[in-house]
């Protein structure tokens, strides 16, 4: 089994959910996080946009701190079988690609075992 960890833009989460659902990947876990890539965030640009009223001040300001310059992202996790991992990665890229830096990263990690809590059985197949 493989765990796919995708760090993506918050506003692409609905598109990602939809494309995965359409292609029979219904199960996922998602949570909000803050992050930074190789490029630093341009705090001056964001401040200028917020002053011009093009960005909502409350949401961005809360998650965008000058000291560490982290940007709000969503951490999207799903576990699939080995042979489906590549397809899932391709779908996530398709749903999130805008061509700009900051689209996110996808990591694929091995999972040794998985269990279903409901009956305590080892679940080779997640669903």
């Amino acid at each position: 089994m493989k765990e796919i960890i995708a760090i993506i833009r918050p506003n692409r989460i609905n598109a990602t959910k939809r494309i995965l659902m359409d292609n029979h990947f219904p199960a996922f876990t998602c949570r909000s996080c803050l992050g930074r890539g190789r490029k630093n965030a341009d705090t001056e640009l964001v401040a200028a946009l917020m002053e011009a009223g093009k960005l909502p001040q409350d949401v961005i300001g809360e998650h965008f701190t000058e000291a560490t310059r982290l940007i709000a992202k969503r951490l999207f996790t799903l576990v699939t079988s080995d042979d489906l991992a590549e397809k899932a990665v391709r779908l996530i890229i398709e749903a999130n690609q805008t061509g700009n830096p900051g689209d996110g990263k996808i990591f694929v990690c091995p999972i040794a075992e998985s269990y279903r809590v409901r009956d305590g059985e080892a679940a080779d197949e997640i669903f």
């Binding site: 493989k2 960890i5 995708a6 760090i7 993506i8 949570r31 909000s32 996080c33 803050l34 992050g35 930074r36 890539g37 190789r38 490029k39 630093n40 000291a67 560490t68 982290l70 992202k73 951490l75 990665v89 996530i92 890229i93 999130n96 690609q97 805008t98 061509g99 700009n100 830096p101 900051g102 689209d103 996110g104 990263k105 996808i106 990591f107 694929v108 990690c109 091995p110």
Partner: protein
């Protein structure tokens, strides 16, 4: 590639992130977590506080940078010899990494 997950004190994260940036490791993901360690949380009188707020840093790096990053986190997040609650660092393998913006299979 390796995935480094460090669970550290919230008041140390800024310092750790700044140190990592200075050492040339800018990419990082941070999230708030709650947990307890070997000491079963903090016990005050009869009350046990076992959901202590921490922050988790996630860093994916090449194998050769792993030790540097772990050393920087340990050096910066430590509050002093023998203090409980400074955190833990876990390192696990990552088999593939993709950049969404260009779809390339590289970090």
């Amino acid at each position: 590639m390796q995935l480094i997950r460090a669970i550290i004190r919230p008041n140390k994260t800024n310092e750790v992130i700044t140190e990592l940036l200075a050492a040339g490791f800018p990419a990082i993901t941070k999230m708030e977590v709650y947990g307890r360690g070997k000491q079963k949380g903090i016990i005050v009188g009869n009350i046990q506080y076992d959901e202590i707020p921490k922050e988790m840093l996630m860093i994916v790096c090449d194998d050769e940078n792993k030790e540097d990053i772990v050393k920087i986190i340990i050096r910066t997040a430590r509050t002093g010899a023998g203090n409980f609650g400074d955190g833990k660092i876990f390192v696990s393998p990552v088999s593939e990494a993709y950049t969404v913006s260009n779809g390339k299979p590289e970090l």
